[in-house]
C-alpha cells in the first residue's frame, strides 16, 4: 500500500540538509505552509536557498527562518513589504543574497523545472535591469530573454485536502505556487487541512496528482473553515477578529 502520509510536521521536514534549495509556497497568507516553515526552523537546516514569492514578513514564519541566519540566498519576486524588516535588515547588511525575478518568470521557471524544459524565451523583463546579461532574441518580431528552470531539493506547500497517494486539491487563491512547486522539487512535502480516503477526491478536479508529492501531513482545519464550509470571523492573516492578535 502506498502511504505518503506522515504523522507530524517534524517527520514531514526530516532530512532537509544544510545547503538545500527549498521552495516555499504561498502568496500572502494564502497557501503559506506555516506549520511546515515552523517545523523547518525547529529542524535546524541552514545555508539554505529559499524560493518563494515573498521574503517573509513580521517576525514569524519565513521571517523567523531568516532571522535565525539559516538562509544564504533567496529567489523571489517581492521581498519588500511594509513589515519585511527582517529581510530588509539582512539585505542592507549584505547578509543575504537576493535573486529578484518577475513573478511570472518565477512561476514559469518553476514550471519549466517540473516539466523538463531546459530553458525558454520570455518577453517579461526584456529591456529592463532584470534581464541584463541574459541572452536576448527577437522571435516573430517580439523581444524575448532566455530564462532557465528553477528547481529545488524540497518544496514545502500547503493544500486543502490530500489523500495517501499524495493527490492534492487547494482552496481558492491559496493554490498559487503549490502545483508548480510540487513538480519542481526532488521531495515535495504538502501540509493539508484534511486527509481524505483514497478516491474521495474527484479525479477531474485533482490539481496536483500524487506523482508530484512525497509526503503529506495533516495540520488540521484553517480557523475560517469549519466542516468544509467557510465561516469567516478572521482578519486577512487568519487571526480571530475578536482576538488579541496573539495567534500566528
Amino acid at each position: 500500500m502506498i502511504d505518503k502520509t506522515v504523522t507530524d510536521v517534524a517527520q514531514a521536514v526530516a532530512g532537509i540538509a544544510d545547503g538545500s534549495t527549498v521552495m516555499i509556497g504561498g502568496f500572502g497568507r494564502a497557501g503559506q505552509p506555516v506549520e511546515l516553515i515552523d517545523a523547518l526552523i525547529e529542524q535546524g537546516a541552514g545555508d539554505l536557498t529559499i524560493v518563494s514569492n515573498n521574503a517573509g514578513n513580521g517576525d514569524t514564519g519565513l521571517a523567523a527562518l531568516l532571522a535565525k541566519g539559516r538562509v544564504r540566498r533567496i529567489i523571489c519576486s517581492f521581498p519588500r513589504q511594509h513589515d519585511s524588516w527582517v529581510f530588509d535588515g539582512l539585505y542592507r547588511a549584505g547578509e543575504i543574497e537576493l535573486e529578484l525575478v518577475p513573478q511570472g518568470n518565477l512561476a514559469e521557471r518553476i514550471r519549466a523545472a517540473g516539466a523538463g524544459i531546459g530553458g525558454f524565451f520570455s518577453p517579461t523583463g526584456v529591456g529592463t535591469q532584470l534581464a541584463e546579461g541574459k541572452e536576448e532574441r527577437t522571435i516573430d518580431g517580439r523581444r524575448y530573454a532566455l530564462e532557465y528552470p528553477v528547481r529545488a531539493d524540497y518544496a514545502l506547500i500547503s493544500a486543502h485536502r490530500g489523500d495517501r497517494w499524495g493527490n492534492l486539491v487547494y482552496r481558492e487563491t491559496a493554490r498559487n505556487f503549490g502545483p508548480i512547486m510540487a513538480a519542481a522539487a526532488g521531495t515535495t512535502v504538502a501540509q493539508v487541512d484534511e486527509l481524505v480516503e483514497l478516491g474521495a477526491l474527484d479525479p477531474e478536479a485533482v490539481v496536483t496528482p500524487g506523482i508530484f508529492t512525497n509526503r503529506v501531513v495533516a495540520v488540521g482545519p484553517r480557523s475560517w473553515v469549519r466542516d468544509g464550509g467557510f465561516v469567516g470571523g478572521v482578519d486577512i492573516d487568519g487571526n480571530p477578529l475578536s482576538g488579541s492578535g496573539a495567534s500566528r
Binding site: 521581498p79 519588500r80 529578484l100 517579461t124 529591456g127 481558492e172 482578519d235 486577512i236
Partner: protein
C-alpha cells in the same frame, strides 16, 4: 493651472471605468487602479483577473466574511463571482503573457513617449528591490493603460521623452489617464485624447515640457 482643472483620483477611476467595454477581461494593478473596480457599471459584465490566480473577482467582503485564502494581488480580501475560476501561478501568468487580457490598468513613476513604462523602482541605491508581477503585467495585456497623476510630488512631469527610472517594460503603454488629461501613445509621441476641465494642450505642454501637438 487651477485645481478645478484636475479630476480627483475617484473621478479618474470613474473615467477609466467608462472606457472598459462589457465582456472585457481586465487586470487592475495594485494601488490607485484598484479604485476602477468601484465604478464598473453593475449592469455590465466585466471580468476581473487577479494574477495570483482568479478570474471573475468580485468586490471586497464584509468584515466578518474575510477569507484569507481568497485575496487579490494586493493581498486584500476579495470575493469570487458566479462564473469564476481558480488556477495556479504558471497558468495565471501564461494567461497574461499570452495576450489574453484585454486591458490592464497600472500606476506609473514615468511613462516615455515611446510607450516605455517605469513603475517598479525609483532606482534609489538603498531601496529594497521588489518587482512582483509589474513586468509581467506591463507586457501582458493587449492594452496597457496607465492611471497616474500627471506630475510627481516634486512637480516634474511623469510623462517624459525618455524614462530615467528603471524600466518595467519597453514600448508597452498605449494610453495614460492623468488628473489633467488622457493621452494616447501613438507613433512615439503622446497625443492628447481628452482634456479635463479648462486644460489646454498648450498649458499641458508648459507643465510637461513635451510637444503634444
Amino acid at each position: 493651472m487651477s485645481a478645478s482643472s484636475r479630476v480627483s483620483r475617484q473621478e479618474l477611476a470613474q473615467r477609466i471605468a467608462e472606457d472598459i467595454p462589457e465582456g472585457a477581461y481586465v487586470n487592475l494593478g495594485i494601488g490607485a487602479p484598484t479604485l476602477v473596480a468601484n465604478y464598473l457599471p453593475a449592469d455590465l459584465e466585466i471580468i476581473l483577473h487577479t494574477e495570483n490566480g482568479l478570474l471573475g473577482m468580485g468586490p471586497a467582503p464584509a468584515v466578518g466574511s474575510v477569507d484569507p485564502d481568497l485575496i487579490n494581488a494586493g493581498k486584500q480580501p476579495v470575493t469570487a463571482l458566479a462564473g469564476a475560476a481558480y488556477f495556479h501561478h504558471a497558468d495565471s501568468f501564461g494567461m497574461m503573457r499570452g495576450g489574453h487580457l484585454d486591458i490592464c490598468v497600472l500606476g506609473a513613476f514615468q511613462v516615455g513617449s515611446n510607450g516605455d513604462l517605469a513603475n517598479w523602482s525609483t532606482g534609489a541605491a538603498d531601496a529594497i528591490p521588489a518587482v512582483g508581477g509589474a513586468m509581467d503585467l506591463a507586457i501582458g495585456a493587449r492594452n496597457v493603460w496607465i492611471m497616474t497623476d500627471l506630475l510627481a510630488k516634486s512637480g516634474e512631469s511623469k510623462l517624459v521623452t525618455e524614462c530615467t527610472y528603471p524600466l518595467t517594460g519597453v514600448g508597452c503603454v498605449s494610453r495614460v489617464y492623468t488628473d489633467y488629461a488622457v493621452f494616447d501613445v501613438i507613433g512615439n509621441t503622446f497625443r492628447v485624447r481628452e482634456l479635463f476641465g479648462d486644460n489646454t494642450v498648450e498649458a499641458l505642454e508648459d507643465l510637461t515640457g513635451l510637444n503634444l501637438k
